[in-house]
Amino acid sequence: MAEEWRGKIGGMTEERMNSYLSGSTNARVAVLDDDGRPYVLPLWFHWDGHAFWFVIRERSAIARYMKARPDVGLVIDDTSVSDPDNQRFFEMPKVFAQGKAEVVEEPNVGGKWVEYASRMATRYLGPNGPDYIVPTLEQPRWLFRMTPDHVKTWEGVGWAKGYWVEGDKGPSYEQVHGN
């Protein structure tokens, strides 16, 4: 029998992924710096079902890097979080996505980014979130969109079968995962 603490093991349905991505976990976003080395930071994101949106401060290096080299890899993951309806926990949810970013808005004040920032502030900071961003609304921001060409999801403590090395030693995948 699979042990209880493992939770459900496997990929997420699209519906469940969308539900998880409407929570308040940061994306950890990796881009390439001027030398082509990886650079990674936590960022707020908005997922619209097709693309990830990022609102970034004018002077952030990550925005400059993203514009110069649009390849982006990101992961959104948690140890354990309740779903937005508190119906069912996500145990070790992970969403990996890779794709190209595009500049939707160069740094500006008052652009479309404000609407995205307000929605994100509500998700990440709660109902009063938009109030907290008022003192910095006059600070110019970039608006980026990354449409993934590759998405992978995972949930639960178990290993994906493809990672398990079968051999003479130790238990089999089925013995460990109870199926």
């Binding site: 002077r59 990101l74 992961v75 600070q139």
Partner: protein, 180 residues
């Protein structure tokens, strides 16, 4: 460590705060390069020994192959708050970023030095019974990978670093927005 940005930077962590935060159970998000040069990032357990980050990866994990192929790596370790210290004080929104070259210390093997590193990690991430959770997969071959950072940056709190603030864009000044 070539650069020690964590010393004295406004809003940065002290070395002691950084080491204390890194001794907690936040995950690392490790970025590597795919063979086509694009970035790839995964959540992973780490162990910080004060000089290097250590990672233990499953034989078939793509990120280990990527690091063997191209050792350039970047890591962010961040959290909503650190574990409280003895006096109950925690740091809000600590962030540590590191860049460096990864070194394969052990190719995938069973029973190598990685076992001890994995056990140390399991105490931090899973608690006092951590190592018992590892036993069912301890015969699965693992890589042992080390990264000595050549650059470290730290940050804490919700405020902006001064250099990001654009003066004269309209709205409040940096000092007004940050109450300083």
């Amino acid at each position: 460590m070539a650069e020690q940005d964590f010393r004295g930077e406004l809003g940065g962590l002290t070395r002691e705060q950084m080491d204390q935060f890194l001794a907690g159970n936040a995950l690392a998000r490790l970025a590597a390069l795919k063979p086509d040069g694009s970035p790839y990032v995964i959540p992973v357990w780490y162990q910080w020994d004060g000089e290097a980050l250590w990672f233990v990866g499953r034989e078939r994990s793509a990120w280990c192959r990527y690091l063997e192929n191209d050792p350039r790596a970047a890591v962010v370790i961040d959290s909503e708050h650190s574990d409280p210290d003895e006096s109950g004080v925690s740091v809000e929104i600590p962030k540590v970023t590191m860049e460096g070259l990864a070194e394969v210390v052990e190719k995938p093997n069973v029973g190598g030095r990685w076992v001890q590193v994995a056990e140390e990690m399991s105490y931090r991430y899973l608690g006092p019974n951590g190592p018992t959770y590892l036993t069912s997969t301890i015969q699965q071959p693992r890589w042992l990978i080390k990264m000595v950072p050549t650059r470290i940056k730290t940050w804490k709190g919700v405020g902006w670093a001064r250099k990001y603030w654009v003066d004269g864009a309209g709205g409040p000044s940096y000092e007004e927005a940050h109450g300083v």
